[in-house]
């Protein structure tokens, strides 16, 4: 089978679709995570989702469903911890993160027989995405895009300043928890395609890249989704060309895009140029 003939195969069409759906959902959630500075919470949720998938495998229930439950639970635990300040947010995230990893490794060790399926949730494989996963991705991507459009103004206010948004009558706490919940669901839905170790790069990298290039929130969402799909498809093409893991290639392409954007960021030049006038 040649590289070009690969693209006419049904599994490749499914892979392209799964990559695009996952990229759009992750990129939209990524804009919220990056602008609200919740990146480490997201990393933590992605590892909890992986542990959840292993719980599903261990008990013979759907790994997709159990990873969604685990990621929502992690979001539900992290939100109040980060919010109420009983522990510093860093400490809370560190505790939940290491507990998730420990649980995942424990379940991995306890799983009887070959570990290939379990490890596929860690590394992901976009070429073997199931029909169930594709539908889940389509549902999540549609829901994320619709919700971002409907609640755009509330999101914009919360991104600017959560307390100021609350003070003006916007349900800022509800928006914050909805963002955490959607991060969890999106990460869980993308887990089988991208993998527990890499999925969060798909959330953060395109949004962080677009963040270097625009001051408009609308453009940030659009650019982030576009860059994510582009990174996904280029990564997929390179993985097919060089016979390398697709998830890793997608993340490396999106990382390269981020590095280029940082170097050529108009924001960097602008902030350097205006630093002198900040004291007035």
């Amino acid at each position: 089978m040649t590289w070009l003939s690969l693209w006419s195969e049904p599994f490749m069409a499914r892979a392209l679709l799964a990559t695009a759906l996952s990229a759009v959902a992750c990129a939209c959630v990524g804009v919220l995570v990056v602008t609200m500075r919740l990146s480490f919470i997201g990393v933590c949720i992605s590892h909890a989702a992986f542990a959840g998938a292993l719980i599903g495998l261990h008990f013979g229930v759907s790994p997709l469903g159990s990873s969604m439950v685990a990621s929502l639970l992690a979001a539900g635990v992290l939100g109040p911890l980060a919010d109420r300040g009983n522990l510093s947010p860093d400490t809370a995230i560190g505790v939940v993160f290491s507990a998730s990893i420990a649980l995942a490794f424990l379940l991995l060790a306890l799983l009887p027989g070959p570990k290939a399926e379990a490890l596929s949730w860690l590394w992901g494989n976009v070429l073997t995405v199931s029909r169930e996963n594709l539908w889940a991705l389509a549902g999540v991507a549609t829901a994320v895009v619709v919700l971002m459009a409907v609640f755009f103004k509330e999101i914009q206010a919360v991104i600017f300043d959560r307390e100021l948004a609350a003070a003006s009558g916007i349900p800022a706490t509800a928006v914050f928890y909805a963002v955490l919940a959607f991060s969890g669901v999106t990460i869980a839905a993308s887990l089988s395609a991208i993998g527990g170790l890499l999925v969060f790069s798909m959330v953060v990298n395109p949004a962080a890249t677009a963040y270097q290039l625009t001051y408009s929130l609308r453009q940030l969402f659009l650019l982030s989704a576009l860059l994510a799909v582009l990174a996904g498809w280029i990564g997929l093409a390179l993985s097919a060309l060089f016979n390398l893991p697709a998830g890793a290639m997608i993340v490396l392409v999106s990382t390269a895009m981020l590095l280029v954007a940082i170097v050529f960021s108009p924001k960097r030049r602008w902030s350097t140029a205006t630093d002198g006038g900040k004291d007035v």
Binding site: T35, R37, V150, F151, K153, E154, Q156, A157, I159, F160, D161, R162, E163, L164, A165, A166, A167, S168, G169, I170, P171, Y211, T214, Y215, S216, L217, Q219, L220, K267, W270, S271, T274, G277, K278, D279, V280
Partner: protein
């Protein structure tokens, strides 16, 4: 309707075991421009934030135009209040223009699931015009100077035509030249909008030049109140 724009009746606030407001009783009449003066930690900002329901009250009652501040009425109460905070928890590269920032002050009134109208946009532009920064409408908020950001935040606070304006340490991040302009701007906003205004500051000359009366606070207690001229005399007698 209450003669008071807002009132605190025997209000006590505790953070853990520390009491930060001790049975505070205070009223601000409709149309007044009142200053809250005190050192850091006097409880001025806490007092202001109880009006917005951002800090829970352990004892006593907080009222805005006669309506108790509480969970059920909070959304309506907050829409009557324009608030300029002391510190923003905002990334300097936040993807919002000055006009976007002012628009965020109108969103609660527009309602969830509805899109801003042209009239909303015009209200925001009008507020920027009043603050003399309409030419900055399309500029990213993060690249504006401290004074420009303060004007945009003031425009945000007045865009929804509030009845009560709260400003927390408005001079803390601006230089002395802008303080003169700020006094003029706040007076303009206060008088043209039939507002009741409360300004929290530890800058005594600023409050003396701006306010009708100044309430003195120390260690979570209201010590009393003085006229604008009386504040500087009081300080001259060694309170600071």
């Amino acid at each position: 309707m209450s003669q008071y724009a807002c009132e605190w009746r025997n209000v006590t606030v505790r953070f853990g075991k520390r009491t930060v407001l001790h049975t505070v009783t205070l009223g601000v009449r409709c149309g007044e421009l009142v200053g809250l003066f005190g050192h850091n930690g006097a409880g001025k900002s806490t007092l202001l934030r109880t009006l917005l329901g951002l800090i829970p009250v352990q004892n006593g009652q907080v009222l805005v135009e006669g309506t108790p501040v509480g969970a059920r009425q909070m959304s309506q109460i907050r829409r009557r209040i324009g608030y300029v905070p002391q510190v923003l928890n905002t990334d300097p590269r936040v993807p919002l223009t000055a006009l976007d920032v002012v628009m965020t002050g109108l969103y609660a009134g527009i309602g969830i699931g509805r899109f801003p109208s042209r009239q909303n946009r015009e209200s925001a532009q009008d507020a920027l015009r009043k603050m003399q920064v309409l030419h900055l409408a399309r500029q990213p908020f993060g690249v504006l100077s401290g004074g420009e950001q303060q004007r945009v935040l003031l425009a945000r606070a007045i865009a929804s035509a509030p009845r009560l304006l709260l400003m927390d340490e408005p001079t803390s991040s601006v230089d002395w030249q802008f303080v003169h302009e700020l006094i003029w701007l706040i007076r303009q906003v206060h008088e043209s909008g039939s507002l009741s205004t409360i300004v929290v500051s530890h800058d005594a000359p600023f409050l003396a030049r701006l306010c009708d009366r100044v309430v003195l606070m120390e260690s979570g207690r209201v010590l009393g109140e003085v006229s604008a001229e009386g504040l500087l005399d009081y300080l001259g007698r060694g309170w600071v």
